[in-house]
Amino acid sequence: MALPSTTLAGLGAALARGALSSVELTREVLARAGAAQPALNAFVTLDADGALAAARAADESRAAGRAGPLTGVPIAHKDVLMTAGLRTTCSSRMLANFTAPYDAHVVDALKRAGTVLVGKTNMDEFAMGSSNETSYFGPVRNPWNPAYVPGGSSGGSAAAVAARIVPAATGTDTGGSIRQPASLSGICGLKPTYGLCSRYGLIAFASSLDTPGMFAQTAEDCALMLNAMAGHDPRDATSLPRPREDYTRELGQPLAGLRIGLPREYFGDGTDLDVAAAVDAAIAEYRKLGATTVDIALPAVKLSVPVYYVIAPAEASSNLSRFDGVRYGHRAAGYADLLDMYKKSRAEGFGAEVKRRILVGTYVLSHGYYDAYYLKAQKVRRLIADDFQRAFAQCDVIAGPTAPSAAFEFGAKSDDPVQMYLNDIFTIAGNLTGVPGISIPCGFTRGGLPIGLQLQANYFREAQLLGVAHGLQQATDWHARVPAAYGVQR
């Protein structure tokens, strides 16, 4: 069935004026999700019964005069977020049969906002990967070209939004896992300031970096999602008590006088020529809209990949020690004793990339190496954060490519972990520092693959960031381009 819109705001408005019901919309979304599943593999679990029950409840709320902007709109959650009563796997054999006993904070917040959960999206195992190739349930394919990766780790959420299955989906970003797949899949992806959205119920990978966020087609839709997701939660000790904000408030603000910082390190030899050209064109568009540009330097950012590959595995090795085959998750069928049970359960339950990172983390935290690796990385992390604060004294937002290249083919980087890790070179610093960042579509390669522009702002400046992103989307239509296979009957 043709829909009156595919955006969150558009569908919310259509529901509000009675153009269709949430049940009708949800049936269509489930049909699209099912039809695209063989080609994309974007979902690990679809919950038709739960979705239709939630849709009926949303329609009843609306009939009773209790409806917000998201009431009755179907969305999807990344399968790293706990969903009460629904399978939550982290795309790992370890949790292949795990049913979450409670909702993550952001899942609960979006439920209370009236959204309808249609399913859980595929991802790199335990969110460790940049291509979605490490999923136990098989890779997600890029809706623009199925021979290419969608990015990762939140690849299923990115593909589901890019293919116009759902108008929005949650993701989590530990080193770029929202922004990079948003870039490679041609949609918007926002990683908020660390601490703005609670991590409660987000199955932990690297706790000082893990950040819940979202995918949508437009900056406006990201703002609507963030309005529902942000807020203090005492169940997460790092959730920040902050006054409530309306993140849509700077949409449509004039961009005259905006100072855009251009880090020379983001425009060097490592960046693909098509990517650089598209990003340059977006910046030229911002100049036309009245923004000025200033050259800035982020010299320590080049160290962000090695810093990340100490800190993230260290935290992961600790967090993933909970998977021991005792309380939940996979337990090996045969074992000699307790130690053997731990070892076999973990060897069978985890995939190669997850094991590799646990081993790196175990090593850097082990006796005699802590100062040389972990403490050293924490010090360089400070240098990177200091670079950003110096930059934000000169500019309002930092602009550059989200990733050094567009999507790559399956297998292109899977044998060389360091090459894979370097795809996150422009996004990792945002996690190490905790500043918010968004990737928005800004063009295509000659091969027809989408390119993302990353905008980063200082802590808690999401409203400004979304306003700046919205400005480009008012002047260009890159965000409205739809992959050919998913563009009919929209």
């Binding site: 049969n97 049913t99 006993p101 660390y194 601490g195 000082s208 970096l209 005492p234 000790a237 790092t238 920040l240 160290l303 090695p306 810093v307 590959y309 100490v310 020690s321 021991d324 085959g325 005792v326 939940y328 998750g329 337990r331 004793d337 307790l338 053997d340 049970m341 070892k343 076999k344 973990r346 060897a347 985890f350 094991k355 590799r356 646990i358 081993l359 790196v360 175990t362 090593y363 082990s366 190496y369 040389a372 690796y373 403490l375 050293k376 924490q378 010090k379 360089v380 992390r381 400070r382 240098l383 954060a385 060389d416 972990p417 360091v418 890790y421 996690n431 190490l432 520092t433 905790g434």
Partner: protein
């Protein structure tokens, strides 16, 4: 600090991950390239730099010392690999 094959076996034991000889050799090669990248950090001067453990320099919040959790053990244990009488079962560790 080159990582040896013995180091790989030792950390796999510490991490409680079973690893056979072929796997250890393959992992050893991959970890070698990862640590070659990580070792770039050695060249950075961090004299006098305070380590940054967290994105926000904030004190850990304190809450009242009150019971806030209710009893969920039946729900949680419903999907444990093995339970009996409200207890998780593991192989015998004390003879």
């Amino acid at each position: 600090m080159a990582l040896t094959l013995d180091d790989v076996r030792r950390i796999a034991h510490l991490a409680r991950i079973d690893i056979d000889a072929d796997e250890a050799a393959a992992v050893h090669a991959k970890l070698g390239t990862i640590f070659a990248m990580i070792d770039e950090l050695n060249a950075v001067d961090t004299e006098g730099v305070a380590p940054m453990s967290h994105a926000q320099d904030m004190a850990m919040p304190l809450r009242d010392d009150a019971v806030t959790e209710s009893d969920h053990h039946a729900l949680y244990q419903a999907q444990a690999p093995a339970v009996e009488d409200g207890l998780y079962l593991v192989p015998r560790v004390i003879e």
